[in-house]
């Protein structure tokens, strides 16, 4: 009973914060700079409402809810990948050569994830169905985790002073790294009951953590223009050289 109650509270809290942020961003005069965040939050809100409807209609253990959940998760992971690409673009606003390099890297990464997931899936299951969607979204999820970490390191490397972007990237980091760390803990404790219940709460709590960091970044941190120090780092200069 209490487990269900906590789950419902987390679910409704997520929907409420997402709705408030979407409304706030829609009324914000500088919403153009945060268009990617607005779109991602709208996706989160839409899928949250759809899942809530499927959950109340069919129930938690029904195959219908499972299909709705994993299909919408696939869409959310794609949206998250596009959001990370958008953050890379914002970080490279004044460095066109670096952006050309990063753009290629992102395209290759996406193609490779699709290929590796396909090879792994065909080897184990065969055919194109929901398991492939889950396999692909799981691989893309962890690719987003690695890319987001690279983005954070790149922001430190180029000396970006865009505090808002830094906080937005940290929020995405909570979303991706939190569940991964919880899964690692689950394995270290050999799947004990405590870590299993912790895992079920950590996924929604990491999303809530991301939303709260984003709320702080959007409301309290003034979105300064992305000023990059003119000093070129030798490593990046070598990579982006023609």
């Amino acid at each position: 009973m209490s487990t269900n109650l906590i789950g419902h509270v987390l679910q409704y809290a997520g929907i409420l914060i997402e709705a408030c942020l979407v409304i706030y961003l829609a009324r914000n005069p500088r919403r153009g700079q945060l268009a990617g965040v607005s779109l991602y939050l709208s996706c989160l809100l839409g899928t949250g409402l759809g899942r809530r409807l499927a959950l109340s209609t069919y129930g938690w253990t029904s195959p219908q809810y499972s299909y709705v959940y994993w299909t919408t998760d696939f869409l959310l992971v794609i949206a998250a990948f596009l959001l990370v690409c958008h953050f890379f673009r914002r970080a490279c606003l004044s460095q066109e050569k670096l952006w050309r390099f990063v753009r290629l890297l992102l395209c290759f990464s996406f193609i490779l994830v699709a290929g590796i997931s396909g090879v792994s899936f065909v080897g184990h299951y065969g055919g194109l169905s929901l398991p492939y969607v889950i396999e692909f979204s799981q691989d893309l999820y962890f690719t987003c985790l690695v890319l987001n970490t690279l983005l954070y390191l790149m922001l430190q490397q180029i000396g970006s002073v865009d505090d808002q972007l830094g906080l937005l990237v940290c929020g995405v980091g909570i979303q991706f790294a939190g569940p991964s760390a919880t899964m690692a803990l689950y394995h270290l404790t050999t799947g004990q009951r405590f870590s299993a219940s912790l895992t079920s709460y950590m996924l929604p709590m990491c999303t809530l953590g991301m939303l709260m960091v984003w709320a702080y970044a959007v409301i309290h941190v003034s979105d300064r223009v992305n000023k990059v120090t003119p000093r070129r780092n030798p490593v990046l200069a070598e990579v982006t050289a023609d």
Binding site: W60, T61, L105, L147, H187, T190
Partner: protein, 63 residues
Amino acid sequence: MKNLVVTLLLALLVVLTAVSVRRAVAGTSPSAGSPTLVAIGTDPVPPLLPPPPPKPQPQKPSN
């Protein structure tokens, strides 16, 4: 051309790192023997559907 190769190698490194991390932290559950999955959103994660049963092989007509 050099840039293209470097980018491709870096992308391969990124994806292989991601797949390795996934295998390390969410490969197979020690208790149930099924893979543990990560997801986005505040909704409860549903249990995995069981894999579809194998199709029955057509029986050969006996002579």
